[in-house]
């Protein structure tokens, strides 16, 4: 993985160098309006999710459309449908001009050549490249994990998450705690018993049988305990002592969670926290605006944010998010218009407004002003998490859609007590290895990249 981070970093550096050399004069004269003039009237089709970051850009969109004459046609899907809808569109040579790529889909989209690498795009349309793009301004972990694959940058980070600990400061203070737990063990052994009472629970871990089970529940407990999905030979590492410690910890922690936690998705967990029924949740930064808004949260004044607790192997918070990439199936005008939109939506100039409207930009410059942390209390924890995150928190290769289904099924069975953590890990391991074998990882047909 380090090799790929390095090659991605080199790629990013080359991109920025190319831009720098490409022309100071270009920078002096460039304007979005002029660059977009040849593409005025073009319609760009893109999939958006039903989440705050997308609503933020949608609210800002009239400014872009007025200035460029480019129309953005947004097709909204819930997360669970977004991959399937896009895969079908790309397989059928459909209408989408921009791909919305979750970090675990990047291998799939890149290997199928459904998206164009950024450097190729910039070489193809030199006149529309924003001289202020500054690709190195993105947090390196985020840029490489969300948008990079096999040494190339394909997508620009757009809707960016890190796992954070949201806690109800008032409930914690009532129980005599003056701060959040520093470690997972402390959360379970000290905060768990003290905060689980009177129909309220100390913690809720979203564990519904979909990507939530794999990403937000299963992966979240294996990494801080030193575990991982795969070892360096791409064999299952789920029966290792460390992975098992994490999975057993999750089973123990369930006594401090609401009944039926395996049916809780993001909405249920955020709602339970926002209604004051749960004292702590580990959730994506994207839900910050929901829990601090008095319209959607009964505990808005009590919400405080911290980085995810540490495990024996360190913090290793959940990492997730989406990049936007130009689709290869789009015609030339649509590709150019799509790139102009992506540059604009992820630009330094718009980052602050995006943040104010509920989005989470991945630009380091957006968080440079220390005063921002007073308004957006998640910022320090977020920035810290983006230093400690694991890019392969979930493997990003093309086989992930098959593997996540296996993890979801057996991970949920473990939580329900239908199988032990060892039995579940053995099942996931053998099925996961069968998928990787068929894909050619063990025969050397494919590089061991995740």
């Amino acid at each position: 993985m380090k090799k790929y981070i390095l090659t991605n970093a080199v790629s990013a550096a080359a991109l920025s160098l190319g831009l720098a050399v490409g022309g100071i004069s270009h920078a002096m004269t460039w304007s979005l309006k002029d660059a977009a003039a040849p593409y005025s009237g073009t319609t760009v089709d893109v999939v958006f999710l039903l989440r705050p970051g997308y609503e933020a850009i949608e609210a800002m969109l009239p400014a872009f459309e007025d200035e460029t004459g480019i129309q953005i046609n947004i097709i909204k899907h819930p997360y669970e449908n977004a991959l399937g809808e896009q895969v079908r569109d790309f397989v059928a040579d459909g209408d989408l001009d921009i791909a919305l790529i979750d970090l675990v889909w990047i291998g799939n989209f890149a290997e199928n050549e459904w998206v164009i690498p950024v450097d190729e795009l910039q070489a193809k349309f030199p006149d529309i490249v924003d001289p202020d793009l500054d690709i190195n301004d993105f947090f390196p972990l985020v840029l490489n994990a969300f948008g990079g694959w096999d040494g190339k940058i394909y997508g620009v980070p757009f809707d960016n998450y890190s796992g954070l600990l949201f806690y109800n400061r008032c409930l914690l203070e009532e129980s005599g705690f003056d701060g959040p737990p520093e470690t997972w063990a402390e959360l379970k052994d000290v905060y768990g018993p003290a905060l689980t009472k009177d129909g309220k629970y100390a913690f809720a871990l979203q564990s519904k049988r979909n990507e939530t089970q794999s990403a937000d529940s299963f992966a979240r407990v294996i990494w801080p305990f030193g575990g991982s999905f795969l070892d360096e030979n791409f064999r299952s590492n789920l029966l290792s002592e460390e992975s098992q410690a994490g999975l057993k910890f999750r089973q123990d922690l369930m006594q401090y969670m609401p009944d039926g936690i395996v049916a809780y998705d993001h909405a249920e967990v955020v709602n339970a926290f926002a209604q004051g029924d749960v004292a702590m949740i580990t959730e994506w930064s994207a839900f910050y605006s929901t829990v601090v808004s008095e319209e959607t949260s009964a505990v808005a004044d009590c919400v405080a944010i911290a980085p995810e607790p540490k495990g024996p192997a360190g913090r290793k918070p959940a990492l997730g998010g989406f990049s936007l990439a130009v689709a290869s199936q789009a015609d030339e005008a649509e590709q150019a218009a799509a790139w102009l939109f992506i540059q604009w939506a992820t630009s330094k100039a718009n980052a602050l407004e995006y943040l104010e409207r509920g989005g989470v930009p991945a630009r380091a410059s957006a968080y440079a002003d220390p005063a921002l942390a007073e308004t957006y209390t998640f910022i320090p924890a977020l920035v810290e998490s983006w230093q400690d995150g694991v890019p392969e928190f979930r493997p990003r290769f093309a086989e992930w859609p098959e593997i996540t289904e296996i993890v979801q099924e057996w991970g949920t069975k473990m939580m329900l007590g239908e199988v032990t953590t060892e039995e579940g890990a053995a099942e996931i391991g053998s099925r996961m290895e069968a998928v990787l074998e068929a894909a050619g990882y063990y025969s050397g047909d494919k590089p061991l990249a995740q």
Binding site: L83, G84, V87, R88, V91, N108, N112, K208, R209, N210, D259, G260, I261, V262, A263, Y264, D277, A398, P401, E402, E405, E409, T412, K413, M415, L416, E418
Partner: protein
């Protein structure tokens, strides 16, 4: 010749229907048959390859597939008898003379559950069976039951909604069967005995059998392909508690994108449906 219709005219009338059926029904089936013999993953279309019966071998040896089939048949075996019992009860009540206005209103209201979109039924279920604020727990005494997050309760919930939605269909079909019983025969039987069971068994049942067979076949096929309501209500969970065979096929075909394997599963499901339909026809029509 005057009075005879030319073959061309016959073809012109029949061809649109045959072509439509071929396009809508047979072509996809043939394509599913073709993909089931190939490695055909939507995200790996460069690796499409003929693999013979390997997908079928995988399905037949896949414990998870047969668990899903077993779960589906268990749902059929529990929900369908309840639907038939309730449906028959409603049909007999509606068949009795008198209270015509009330019966007309009842018949009309029976259509409502059937007319409700499956997916909407699932969403209704999510709200009504919510552990904290759902109306079902508000009506029941004691602590709130965890419906959606508990494997057994989730299954019971699916049975409840299936019975709610499809009992009216059974009732209307059986009511139609009861109206076929000649009035004088039924009247003569009532003079002979006061036992409703005797009348039902010996007079009405023979007229109900064709309807019952239709109900069995249609409801079996419906249950085997039950998807929308469960998908929106439990998404097959918790765990695999409500993962019926159609949900599994959708998961394999559209979430793991393995269309070849999903096609093999679908074709095996089709064969199971045909076998069950043949069994119903042979057993029940023989009795008539």
């Amino acid at each position: 010749m005057r009075g005879r219709v030319s073959r061309l005219t016959v073809l012109a009338f029949v061809a649109p229907a045959v072509l439509s059926l071929a396009l809508v029904g047979i072509a996809p089936l043939l394509f599913a048959g073709w993909t089931s013999l190939h490695f055909y993953n939507l995200t790996k279309l460069r690796r499409v390859a003929f693999i013979g019966l390997e997908n079928y071998q995988t399905v037949l040896g896949d414990e998870v597939f047969w668990q899903a089939v077993g779960r589906t048949l268990f749902l059929l075996g529990t929900a369908l008898p309840i639907q038939i019992a309730f449906g028959l009860g409603v049909a007999i009540i509606l068949h009795r003379p008198g209270l015509n206005l009330l019966k007309t209103l009842t018949r009309l209201s029976l259509v409502l559950p059937m007319a409700t979109t499956y997916a909407v039924v699932g969403l209704l279920g999510q709200v009504m069976f919510n552990q904290k604020f759902g109306v079902i727990n508000q009506l029941l005494p004691g602590p709130g039951i965890n419906w959606i997050g508990d494997p057994q309760n989730a299954f019971i919930m699916i049975i409840f909604w299936d019975v709610w939605q499809w009992t009216p269909f059974v009732a209307l079909v059986l009511l139609a069967g009861l109206t076929m019983v000649p009035g004088e025969v039924e009247e003569a039987a009532r003079l002979e005995t006061k036992s409703w069971w005797t009348i039902l068994r010996h007079v009405q049942l023979p007229f109900l059998i064709p309807g019952l067979v239709a109900v069995l076949i249609l409801r079996t096929a419906d249950t085997l392909k039950l998807f929308d309501m469960v998908f929106t209500l439990t998404r097959g969970g918790p765990g695999a508690a409500t993962e019926f065979v159609s949900l599994m096929i959708q998961r394999v075909g559209f979430r793991a994108f393995d269309q070849g394997l999903a096609s093999a599963q679908a074709i095996i499901l089709l064969i199971i449906t045909i076998i069950l339909a043949q069994i119903y026809i042979r057993i029940f029509y023989k009795e008539v």
